[in-house]
Symmetry: C2
Subunit: 219 residues, 2 copies
DNA sequence: TAGATTGTTAATCGATTAACAATC
DNA sequence: TAGATTGTTAATCGATTAACAATC
């Protein structure tokens, strides 16, 4: 049903790329100019063969006995993930989560530049957090257009999510990073990527329950 | 390498359970007492057969022509995910993200009760956020023991993560919900579940790049 | 050279999807 | 009854892992 990945790289591989980048930065800092797949694998708890497959996918090859060139690999990953040039983004929803994300400096190293926050609450509008202005949601469409922003980070209350998405899409937003608990519907051509806390918590709870003997307490 | 899931339910299924719960709550609110797999599937953009497989996994069966019993299904999912009895948790790191999570009321519906926050910054210790106290990290081990808390939510700066995990594990924490960008090492028997924002952002960026023609701009 | 590591080709594994008889 | 839906059994699909020749 989902169309084949145009980039030809599998999503599981793409999700692992930031981990490789992190290990490679460490490696570089240690002054190593090459690193082997067993080294990377052990640092991340993966199998060497999986590392080799992933690195092959982004088009960097290694040398037998020597490993992979650290700098070249890092550049290739950063380039692939778009970390080498910043994309502007608006945060919609200046609640605690929105403010937290606005203050996260790590995003700039990941190609994301938060330009401003938007909120519907007049009490918040006009104030600043982390040096960024909180603007009235009424001005969103205009500013998306004038500043050519393509990415929205959604941190509004769940009930507001559906309506806000409509506004965002109508304004020309092409990618939505969805932090709400709501499954969003978006038209063809608009990418929605969700950070699903409930799913993550479900995995944690389930593993904990398995660990301590699921349901031991009751019955 | 990973041991077989003791609960016998595949992780992808577990990750979808909260979505089913959400749809079922809606359905119940609409007064329907049964719901079919095609109904659920269309609400979530899944295939009916996948819904049936998932629901079979948690042990609820439906009726041909009628569908699945909404209330029973909801109860089964909530029970499986532990939403029916609260587990206490400590948040470690009272920065913006920690405070944001402390203020998220949805967790209580997901079986998680945030008892308090911990921070190493004396300027924060003693204050309250969302009605919850911020305590000195020095008191962590003692309070884990006295209050029998088993879950820690990790929202410290990345550099601090490794050390804090050691402290937490030594104190008796059994499950860590890791919001840092750090891959954590924990001993056998301690569950670490990571909310990997970098991976999620990588997927969004990559899909956006595919959409607009990867690398069209340069070269 | 000897031997560690790469990269290719094949095998395995697990999840998703399809087909269809059973059922109400 | 007619027909929508379930649940089982089989097929497909994609990702991970294994085996091993090639290489430096």
């Amino acid at each position: 049903m989902a169309s084949r990945r145009p980039s030809g790289i599998a999503l599981p591989t793409i999700r692992r790329l930031p981990m490789y980048a992190s290990v490679l930065e460490q490696t570089r800092q240690e002054g190593q100019d090459h690193v082997s797949s067993p080294q990377i694998a052990s640092a991340l708890g993966l199998e060497p063969i999986q590392v080799r497959k992933d690195l092959a996918a982004i088009g960097v090859s290694g040398q037998p006995r020597v490993g992979f060139p650290v700098a070249e690999l890092l550049t290739a990953i950063e380039r692939f993930l778009g970390w080498d040039n910043l994309s502007d983004a608006f945060i919609i929803g200046a609640g605690h989560l929105g403010v937290a994300l606005a203050g996260y400096h790590g995003f700039s190293r990941h190609g994301l530049n938060v330009v401003a926050l938007f909120d519907a609450d007049p009490g918040k509008v006009g104030t600043r957090v982390h040096g960024k202005e909180i603007l009235d949601m009424g001005r969103f469409a205009d500013l998306v257009d004038r500043l050519h922003v393509h990415i929205a980070i959604l941190t509004v209350p769940d009930e507001a999510a559906a309506e806000v998405v409509e506004t965002a899409v109508a304004a020309g937003i092409r990618g939505i990073w969805n932090f709400t608990a709501t499954k969003l519907v978006a038209p063809e051509g608009v990418i929605v990527e969700r950070v699903d806390l409930a799913a993550s918590l479900a995995v944690l709870s389930s593993k904990l329950a398995d660990m301590s003997g699921r349901d031991r307490g009751s019955g």
